[in-house]
Symmetry: C2
Subunit: 112 residues, 2 copies
Amino acid sequence: MARAATTSDVFNAIAEPQRRDILVLLRGGERPVTELAQQLGMTQPGASKHLRVLREVGLVRDRKAGKQRLYGLDARGMRPVHEWIGGFEQFWNESFDRLDAYVQDLKQTQEK
Amino acid sequence: MARAATTSDVFNAIAEPQRRDILVLLRGGERPVTELAQQLGMTQPGASKHLRVLREVGLVRDRKAGKQRLYGLDARGMRPVHEWIGGFEQFWNESFDRLDAYVQDLKQTQEK
DNA sequence: TTGACGCATGCCTATATCGGTATACGATAT
DNA sequence: ATATCGTATACCGATATAGGCATGCGTCAA
């Protein structure tokens, strides 16, 4: 078979470092494509493509403003990710019996 | 050029649905590869490959147990993701001036 | 109308997976 | 030593990107 589709999946959309950078920039407010491209050191077509992916998963919205097209953040789409990750929160705070046991075990089983 | 490397990047590791499923299962405790593969309806080699990725980014740990190899969750690696997403939390709760303005604008600009 | 500017797309290449199958490896049991 | 079980890997095929370049389209100014 092949790879899983990336678009239309928020988890995949934010898996790209450059797309994360775009989202961070957009926290500061709407920005035109060219400005984003410039600030992130990427080509205009490159920025447009990433923005397209972000738009398709609903993380950004765009509106026309004269010749420009302003992109703005719509962070609501990140909620599912936040919730999914939140389901693991207790696991990184507690010092697990299981984890402890594991660590103890490592000292002996360690293949190095 | 090409695609960005997926391994050694937690964001990419959890971008794969099956890998997320594995992580969820592991919240219930350590599991041998075969059991994971079976419960998730994937082949054993398939499970092993995903586990390898998860191991490389530090989300799971393994230890030998006789003939078996038990995989356990190490959720600490998810913290960076949680924190990054958390940086957007205020943006999905507030009803933005910017977002409001945008919505208003949509009603007119809407290209449909 | 003609230009210039801002963006989106199409096309093309290289590459990183994902999945499946076959197989090699390590450990336990006979 | 040999067979068997549990896993990890090698190999292969199909495909979805990420990026770069060229180009098309829409908007505003002269």
